[in-house]
Amino acid sequence: MNAVLLASDLPYWLQSIFRVVGGLVAVLLPAGTVVYLFLFKMLSFMQSRLGPMEAGPYGSFQLFAEVGKWLQKEDIVPANAQPEARIFKMAPLIVLASTFLLVVVVPFGPDALFTDFETGIFYALAVSSISVLGILIAGWASANKYSLLGGLRAAGQLVAYELPMVLAVVGVVIQAGTMNLQQIVVAQNTGSMFGWDGIGNPYVLTQFVAFIIFMISVQAELSQTPFDMPIAESELVSGYMTEYSGFRFLIFFIGEFATAGVFAMIASILFLGGWGVPFAWFGWTTIDSVDNWMNFAGPLILFAKMMALVFFIMWIRFSSPRLREDQLQRFAWKVLIPISLVNIMLTAVLKVAF
């Protein structure tokens, strides 16, 4: 298994630069596209308006204008938060850090990957929880009651939805027999259904229940409506983000949409076959026999699948009201977790049976 980016004979420092640039692109490009395409345009069209139109053609540079605006704004620390100003300032960075740590294990092609963890998905789920710390810190350090409520809600919610997410992934792991994300991609694309390998075996078909649970949990992890109680601008006035301004708010904002992008990537790797196309189309059998051009086509395929998933996340976000915190907890513990446990049992039984 070649675990390096593109050409393995580059010096270490060049590899590092490649990885840093690649990581930035892998986080910011999806975030920017998601914001423009979905938050600005799709949302506007769903509300029969055009959205931003002035900055650039069809408002496509609007995001740069917004970033410029936020960077100019004063970085305010509330008076009551002054004693812990360092913690207050740190919180958004922790949230964004978890996004960058997540993207590390995402495979974009047969060789286009940052690292090749044997326990990739395990790592991804663990690292995604770091953002909870950032949010909790933000809520607490803001010295604001609304922020505190928002932070606590976020903590309760993210803990509650971590579990169904893990349990949903367990089904995939059982079926693939590996925790390595690259191997999961390969397993889906080399798989066959009842002897027919025309479309491989994307787990969205066999693990449909797990897919739905995973997507619901992603929705909750990202605090998107109907699970946006931690933000809840009409109740908690944006919850843990209330007191943030300027570029710290920008970081929260980018973090939200970048995480949406990265989670959608992970979901498409787990359930939709990731960067790959069914290997049977081109006569490949193993990962090593995949042609080199997939290193360039792969990211695009993954990007397209990610966009499709983000579309659904955003579509639901724009069309539904928000649940109440206790209803959300009840839904997680009483509905999602039992279903995902049953799903694991069925998967295990079927795995042994076939």
């Binding site: 069209f45 769903m46 509300q47 029969s48 308006r49 055009l50 579509w315 069309s319 539904s320």
Partner: protein, 165 residues
């Protein structure tokens, strides 16, 4: 209930998606303001225009203004007689006719009470100012708006008589 019940959430998703398609196909319901503008209705109460020659500074408008936002000063003047050979008339000449649009609440009472048809509504609306004090407009400015005053609209069927303005 013949058809199966669609869960409400999916119906909602359908509504937003249908709107998305409709907007993409028919265009939005909004107007890109500085580039295209909607024309206000004829009766729109945008700004009050003054036909200075008709004003006799009788103070009726200033007195009936609920906000007292009209300031009038005038002086008497001799005007040429109406008929040749007649005595010169004394007329009231306007020195000052200011309306403070920061106070005005656009009720239209002054336009209505004016007995000499000196005040009119114009649908003009683009006269915002960065400073609130600049909203006090004098009679020259009010007179300029006279050009934007439209004809009174036709009335709906069944109306008895033509409206005044």
């Amino acid at each position: 209930m013949a058809k199966p019940k669609v869960p409400g959430m999916f119906k909602g998703l359908g509504v937003t998606f249908a709107t998305l398609l409709a907007t993409a196909k028919n265009g939005a319901d909004t107007v890109q303001y500085p580039h295209e503008k909607e024309t206000p209705p004829i009766r729109a109460r945008g700004v009050i225009a003054l036909h200075e020659d008709n004003c006799t500074s009788c103070m009726l408008c200033a007195r009936s203004c609920p906000d007292w936002c009209i300031y009038i000063e005038g002086h008497k003047e001799l005007a040429p007689p109406r008929r040749a050979g007649g005595a010169p008339r004394k007329v009231n000449k306007l020195d000052r006719f200011d309306i403070d649009y920061a106070l005005c609440m656009y009720c239209g009472i002054c336009v209505e009470v004016c007995p000499f048809d000196a005040l009119f509504w114009s649908p003009e609306y683009e006269y915002s100012e960065p400073r609130i004090a600049d909203l006090l407009h004098d009679k020259a400015k009010l007179g300029e708006w006279m050009q934007t005053v439209p004809e009174a609209p036709e009335l709906e069927a069944g109306a008895e008589k033509k409206g005044k303005k």
